[in-house]
Symmetry: D2
Subunit: 345 residues, 4 copies
């Protein structure tokens, strides 16, 4: 009953098999392996972007920070939601990779910037005023950190009209696609650079950094190397990404994760003591219930984060918020076991 | 016949099996997996350093740069051989991670700094002179970039007497240990931080960053995260390192690589047209022979780097230098096939 | 009628005379000039801090950024008001000098953080969570960017209780002292580092960076040099600062500036069409009135910033906010001329 | 008898008078002062570069580092003499400003790179190899750190043929011009960016950063601001530079400095115990003589740097090398007094 994160789940057997299969004899290093071309081509295909620069890195933080560094001058500022992973969960990685650019936090309920809150933030950075940070990229996260999903229209409303480059943090890109029932190319519309996540969705550790303008490819390669993210035995990254995209495995897994989450949400919704903090639209739930129920769940071995207090000590009826995340491997049985415990109380 | 690098070889089956075995159900992320403790403990054991801070990263550049950043203030300079990987093969990663420190190149034949050349370089950075870069760590590479191996006495002569921290770039640490027939702890003597390589020696991609002073552990963790090198699905790094160290697999593989290299060197030495640029003391050979022989080898499918010219075009008798590297997987048959071709001419 | 900024005013004759006097024959460079000791001692005296490290730099941005870099690790975040100069007017200088630390904006009316808003911001940076920026210094600006002045009690309420270092951006330190009728030492209470401004208050260009803990002195010297702010002909900085502090000239000038501002505010307050945005407590006024009055003032040669629109084009009765700043040199006549024009309409 | 540096000398009276004259009433800040246009125009005129971007900063380190940052990507390396000020006397300022680029030291006798040593260094940075630092600008210092002067032909031989941008560290630009009897435009031939020094040659503290390609102007402005080098009371920089260039004062002062140096060198050359380390071609002398003579000079109050030992303690006949620098203010009498002492022994 591990709902702590989608990064607690295992790699999908087909991904692992591809890694094992790639371990066959010698292969040239640094992305010259035969699996690399296949992986890059597969990414270009799902994005319908035959010219895109595509590079593999092992973590989402690396993909985000290296892409943002490619889009942001040192005197720039990145506009992102105030709860964005790049703003609060990467220990200043964007500031590091950009060489000292800034992030401007943008307010918004349920993890979403609004066109208005974004425009207000952008207006404060004054182009041509040497004292002000200059306007850099807009970075949007979909699925959001609140487990909600921007619609395609909502995305378009953020990325258009400002004349600024746009970055998509797609750590849960697949889950958003599955939720919206859209293609990767649909979701990428309007973005200049995309962190296309694999790690949270059934890979061991691989993300594709996608840059639509191939003129920026070489710069990205240098930034990746300089950050220590160019793998010598690159084939193991290639093999993961190739298997991830083959036969829509990425979508199959995301749909499974979202379905498990929906089942869990439905069960919780039926519980009189459960309150939802945000509408769970993909594979994450933010909900609250009394400490006594947390204690029952935790004692039974359930793993998940309690956000705002100590579940072990305090009044039994105090309401504590938690986060539950489903990855591709969550079974109906596992979900139902969780629900049975909370129902039993 | 791939002698291009030790990073062209496959992972050892036992390493791969450990990765597959770790893919079993859920595991907590970011180094809280059960394999992590085992891996860290195994590293501490081989270094006989029960208090050491040990962290896993996926590449040698990441290990080097993050460790150097921990040892070097932004106003410092790192003393290293002028051909060191950190100086010429990491696209300014140390400068990036340190936030703008400098590297001072130290001269020396056959890839080795000498006590004299090092002392001369150190003397130029004047402590207490605000205009000068301040003295930072000494970084030593063993096996060197020239395929030679510092003896333990040579290492001690570099690391002692300057009152400066010392870093060991051990991308081929195992091969150096095997060559010297010493323990890891012996080789680590006098060093404050060690990049303990696994990638080139039979892993998929893992290096242990070892810091002897545990007071620097937290800083390193923050630097690793900020650089995007903290793996969420950390178990796959843990599993590699644990398997690598189990039952001395790391030494077994290094010995195999060195033996293959010795067999190759012996065969080449017997050839009248082969000249050695450096004495091959571990698993790398720098040697030279006429273009015609390169053409024969390349045509037969041999893979290796020719350093100083185009092997395809030019006079048949022009002498061209090349690098040959053996990893753990090189068979006697593969070596012998190479030798047979060069003998046939 | 230049009320654009206090940096539009001239240097005080006594400051200029000191510079001229320092131009006498040879003097050793880099702060070894005889005026340096006098200046440093004078700063220590007014702060009643005989051990403090004191360094001179030419701009407020340099003082702020270099001091913050001394207090903030690269993985840290600086807590400051969302309108602080370091946040919005220094083109990412703090991010640059710190090597990629972050600023966390803290909300608050009239340019002031409140204990509550500060505590909320601090709570979001979680110590020991490697994903989060770690808590760095609290930076407070007095006089605030809104022209208000924190009381000594308000300052203490911000700097105490968090176990974090505190930095005071004192670009208008003297004006705040004059407003509070307190000593420099009183205002410095609770701060670890102070940007003690001279430029805006009658100098040509000099700020004292004051670090209470002398153990950090050498680090600051290296940071200053590395940023190109160590003056070779340092005597001209020394002479300014020594003259600035001699016979309380700094306070005399600040009182004059505040008095001119108070006179201006009183006159404006009497005008039926003038609205104050903040209470002018030192030498800055934020006020609003109809475009027609702006047009009258500007046509008569008044210089000042209109913040939120084009004073030249638009409805005559539209209300536009402006900023008026008085430096030490503003005469009563100049103030009265401005008031006469706005009264005439 | 201060020959410690040209930065120990006073500002020229006409420069100081210009500063005093600029202190007249209000002036708009940040380079909008009326003296700024005059200064910028004067710089463009002497360089015969009507389109050049010209910015004033207070120190040579700031000019060098900000210009190099404009020319060098973070993955680049700067080619410069191994004794260049940017390499050994700026505490990693170029590494800081560039965000972690590298400097590649180039060997050469008497402070001069040769076309051969430069080409060798450039060849080591391999374009298109992601592991290597990429080729950045060539930085040349004239007058060199050894007091020698590159001829115009020597400069052209360094700046042409590599397809790389070129930077001129002209901390002693005027002295080089005077030595070569060439125009500023002649010396600037082939350079993309020039640090045009004023501080060492009779100013209080001002350097012009000159960028020939105006398309890079805005970037430089942002870098200057972000480094804290945009002066609010910019008029005092403007006034210095305008006076410096008016009626060729800069050349008059440089010629005076060079003449004093030549007189000093001639006197020393006549002394049997004096050995020259480099040929003094501008305003610096590197020479050696026995400790006893140093003791005589120092006891008489002569100020200069002894480079390689303690002049106070040791054998009287030990030869110690020293540096002597003349600024514009050195009188014949002062030079002759020095010579009289050394002659007396």
């Amino acid at each position: 009953m591990n709902f702590a994160s989608d990064n607690t789940g295992p790699a999908h057997p087909r991904v692992m098999e591809a890694v094992v299969a790639a371990n066959d004899g010698s292969a040239m290093p640094y992305g010259k392996d035969p699996w690399a071309d296949r992986a890059v081509q597969a990414v270009r295909d799902v994005f319908n972007a035959p010219e895109a620069a595509v590079y593999l890195v092992p973590t989402g933080t690396a993909a985000n920070a290296a892409l943002l560094a490619t889009l942001t001058p040192v005197w720039g500022t990145i506009f992102c939601h105030e709860d964005a992973h790049i703003a609060v969960d990467e220990c200043n990685a964007p500031e590091f990779y950009t060489g000292g650019a800034k992030l401007t936090p943008v307010a918004g309920a349920h993890g979403k910037m609004t066109p208005g809150s974004l425009a207000t933030a952008i207006a404060r950075a004054v182009p041509g005023d040497v004292h002000s940070a200059q306007r850099g990229p807009i970075s949007v996260t979909n699925v959001t950190e609140a487990g909600t999903v921007y619609s395609l229209d909502e995305l378009a409303a953020l990325t258009t009209g400002h004349g600024l480059p746009a970055h998509l943090d797609g750590a849960r890109f697949a889950n958003a696609c599955a939720a919206l029932d859209c293609s990767a190319a649909d979701m990428a519309q309007g973005f200049d650079a995309i962190s296309f996540g694999g790690t949270k969705n059934g890979c061991l550790g691989v993300e594709a950094a996608v840059i639509l303008d191939p003129a920026r490819a070489w710069e990205f390669e240098l930034r990746r190397k300089r950050a220590g993210h160019l793998f010598s035995k690159h084939r193991y990254l290639s093999a993961q990404m190739a298997a991830y995209l083959k036969d829509d495995l990425w979508l199959t897994m995301a749909r499974a994760a979202n379905a498990a989450c929906a089942r869990l949400a439905a069960g919780l919704r039926a519980h009189p003591d459960v309150v939802f903090r945000h509408d769970p639209q993909a594979n994450m739930i933010f909900a609250a219930w009394p400490r006594a129920l947390h204690q029952a769940l935790k004692s039974a071995g359930a793993e998940y984060y309690v956000m705002d207090g100590d579940w072990q000590t305090g009044p039994a009826d105090e309401i504590l918020t938690c986060r539950l995340v489903c990855d591709w491997s969550k079974s109906e049985a596992e979900v139902d076991r969780f629900l049975a415990i909370i129902r039993a109380g």
